[in-house]
């Protein structure tokens, strides 16, 4: 009998009593809030939340009694301060259904912390927030992200930037950010990323690290009039790490590169001849 076998058995059996939608919500809650399933279920189950994910997250973050801290953090983040910070960028009540920071709010945020909206570090910030869509930070996402970054004010966030940039230098982190950016930038209902958006994102992420970025963008805009698939997106990063010069040194035509990259190689080699 599994149930008799220890504590983790209890948690799983709790999960087993939930339906698929609820399980998904538990997982997402736990991810955004960095807590465990037990906490997630407890919050989501409660009467005033009633399995509403956003509501549950908001309640969790704004619960007055809690001061959150992350394992080994230098300082606790104050919920009330965060609330004030949030309010400064929150979209006006009559423009949206939910409590969010919208695109103009984000622009203002960027300006206030002194970054260009096309600075890749904003993607790191978004990733920390686990933001689902570009141009929107929900309240829960904002709270979770700031918590992760151990900031509750704008000046703190500004100070955090160099550390985030350093993170980007780590290839593992950069890969995460890169792959995250695909889902972040695309419409939830679509599978692939529209060409223009993809080009914008490629530019933000790769312009400074890949000598062939400009060629790649030119190629995409001239020759490829279709959206960019996820596979092509992720493989472009790999490609940019291996092939950095116009002679396409290191490229193996018999390799498993997506055909768009094969065509890119052909295009550049032809152009240079």
């Amino acid at each position: 009998d599994v149930r008799a076998l220890g504590l983790h058995g209890v948690g799983s059996s709790r999960m087993n009593r939930l339906n698929k939608a609820q399980k998904d919500k538990v997982k997402r809650f736990a991810a955004v809030s960095d807590s465990d399933e037990k906490t997630a279920i407890a919050v989501l189950k409660s009467k005033d939340v009633g399995w509403d994910l956003e509501l549950g997250l908001e309640k969790f973050f704004t619960s007055a009694a809690s001061t959150f801290s992350f394992g080994g953090a230098t300082g606790a983040v104050n919920a009330k301060t965060l609330e004030l910070t949030y309010k400064a960028y929150r979209a006006a009540d009559n423009t949206h259904d939910e409590d969010i920071i919208d695109a103009s709010g984000i622009e203002k945020l960027c300006a206030d912390i002194g970054i260009d909206p096309v600075d890749p570090v904003i993607l790191v910030v978004s990733m920390k927030m686990n933001a689902k869509a570009m141009g929107v930070f929900t309240k829960a996402e904002f709270f979770a992200g700031m918590k992760r970054m151990e900031c509750d004010t704008i000046p703190q966030l500004k100070l955090k930037l160099p550390f985030l940039r350093k993170d980007l230098a780590n290839p593992e982190v950069f890969k995460q950010v890169f792959e995250y950016s695909f889902d972040f930038a695309k419409d939830e209902t679509h599978k692939s990323l529209p060409l223009e958006t993809a080009c914008g994102m490629f530019h933000v992420l790769l312009a400074d690290r890949w000598p062939l970025c400009a060629d790649w963008l030119e190629f995409l805009q001239k020759e490829h009039n279709k959206p960019v698939t996820r596979d092509t997106w992720t493989q472009t990063l790999e490609f940019s790490k291996q092939i950095k010069s116009g002679d396409m040194k290191g490229y193996d035509p018999a390799g498993a590169w997506p055909y768009l990259l094969d065509e890119f190689v052909e295009h550049v080699l032809e152009k240079n001849n």
Partner: protein
Amino acid sequence: NTSTVGTSSRPEGASGAGADRSTSSSSVESVRSLWDMGLALFRASLAEDTAGSRGTDGNDGAAPHSATNDVLGKATRGLLALVERERGGEAVDRAKVKRLTRAFRSLGVYSDRFEAPFLDATRAFYRAEGMTFAGRSGESVGEYLAHCQLRLAEEQRRCDDYLESGTRRALVQSVEKELVDRHVGWIVDNGFDAMMEKSDVAGLRRMHALLRRVDGGLDKLRVAFGSAVRARGVAVVKDEENDRDMVTKLLELKRRADEVAEESFGGDEAFNAVVKESFESFVNQRQNRPAELIAKHIDGKLRGAGKGETEDELEHSLDRAMALFRHIQGKDVFEAFYKKDLAKRLLLSKSASNDAEKSMISRLKAECGSQFTTKLEGMFKDVDISRDVMRSFRSDSERFAKVEAAGVELYVNVLTAGYWPTYPTVEVSLPPEMDALQGLFRDHYLGKHGGRRLVWQNSLGHCVLRAEFPKCGVKELAVSLFQAVVCLLFNGNSGSDGSLTFEEIRAATGIEDKELRRTLQSLACGKVRVLVKEPKGRDVEDGDSFSVNEQFNERLYRVKVNSIQLKETKEENAATNERVFQDRQYQIDAAIVRIMKTRKTLSHQLLIAELLAQVKFPARPTDLKKRIESLIDREYLERDRANAQVYNYLA
């Protein structure tokens, strides 16, 4: 000089000397026979240098051959000069020369003192001759080859006439080497193509015979043959302007190539193989079109295009067309077109010979497997069964009486969907009389075959309308169903106010816009005009109005109004090609899933290799890649996180 030596030697051995020889040889062996001794003494004296020093018995190490001044040396030089003069065309006393060479032989000095310098001189002579003629631009290779053969024949005769038979081999080889071997490149590169062009079978035979004698000669010839066939073939296949002549030209090329291989190259298997390889390589240089054109060619034959041909000739034609088809790698394109064309032939009764149709099926079975031909055979069966169905319909007296009462003859072909090509269903509002007739048939048929579903293929229907025109009286118009439906609208509408606009016709017939425009165009803007269009013009525009052509005046009683226009055929062909293409994509997808399901995880290279082995039509790795990516996007597969060159199956 020669005359002084010539007369005195008697190598045959006169009887007297023979007696002496035998007497001596029966005694001690170390003692030479008298004859031999005599020869030895004679030889020694000849070998004396006229200046006094010893000759070629090797002792003083002097240069052994014609450089010496002994009698033998002089004799040799003289002989060689004679040979050279003879080669130059002069007549020479051959008997005398023969006696001399025989003498050399008896003296045992033939090989050293004569043959060796003779061969040297021969080589020098022919080297010079070769250089003079071969390699010169403007020089005819054919003439050169003929010359070589003459020289070879000449030298052989020379050998027979006054040289020793042992010399023959080396002599012939020398000539071959100097005249042919040294110039193989020139011979083949300059002569071959022109001879191929002119179908100079004799010249090529000569080339083959000569090149056969030298090492690597035939290889070079084979390569040139292959290139020549391939070059011509590629030119034909890639000539897009002249697609309609492609098959005829290729058949002609095959005939010529086979003829050359047979007549000039002696039916050598290696050369036949070269023809096959060349055809295989160039016919596949262009995707799809050659297969389509071969199908069209065969369709023409089966419709009776070769009217002057006998049955046997027709069968030969088909054999040759199939031989060409055999080289094609993308056979599915051919199949799609063959099926489409067969359907048309069967439904419009256009087959010229049922035997030929059946023999084609056997050929296709042998070539493509029974999987393809069972569908075709099904089509034939359907046509036969339809005849029976019609018979039973006619004997269905209750229903058929109504058909007869309508005064319309009805014939229905019932097609089993899986066997026939897929046809687009085009909507049309039939006039009530036609609708009623269809209904009667349907009731009869479904009465007999309850579980089946009948779908009318209006795009395939054709009619014969009886029409009365003011100028030419009663005519029969052979038209398509759509054309008929449009025409019937004008019943009771004659005279200039009986016109109908495009929109009115569209509403009344329910025919889809593009199809309707095409139909009206075929009735009002083609060669035979049943209707007239206002305003005049090639294309049917919105607002155009149509009326019966009062001026219609055709000579024949039954007038065919063509509904198949060139553009339509192009569209049809493009659609067929598209369908084959789609089909191939499905096949690739299915193969990928099948392979990955079994292997679970596989590297890119291995997957591509497996696919190329499994897939029955030519597929490029790029196309395969695209399908793999599509399946990744649809989450059937994923790239391995650790190694992007490896794919994992996603259950």
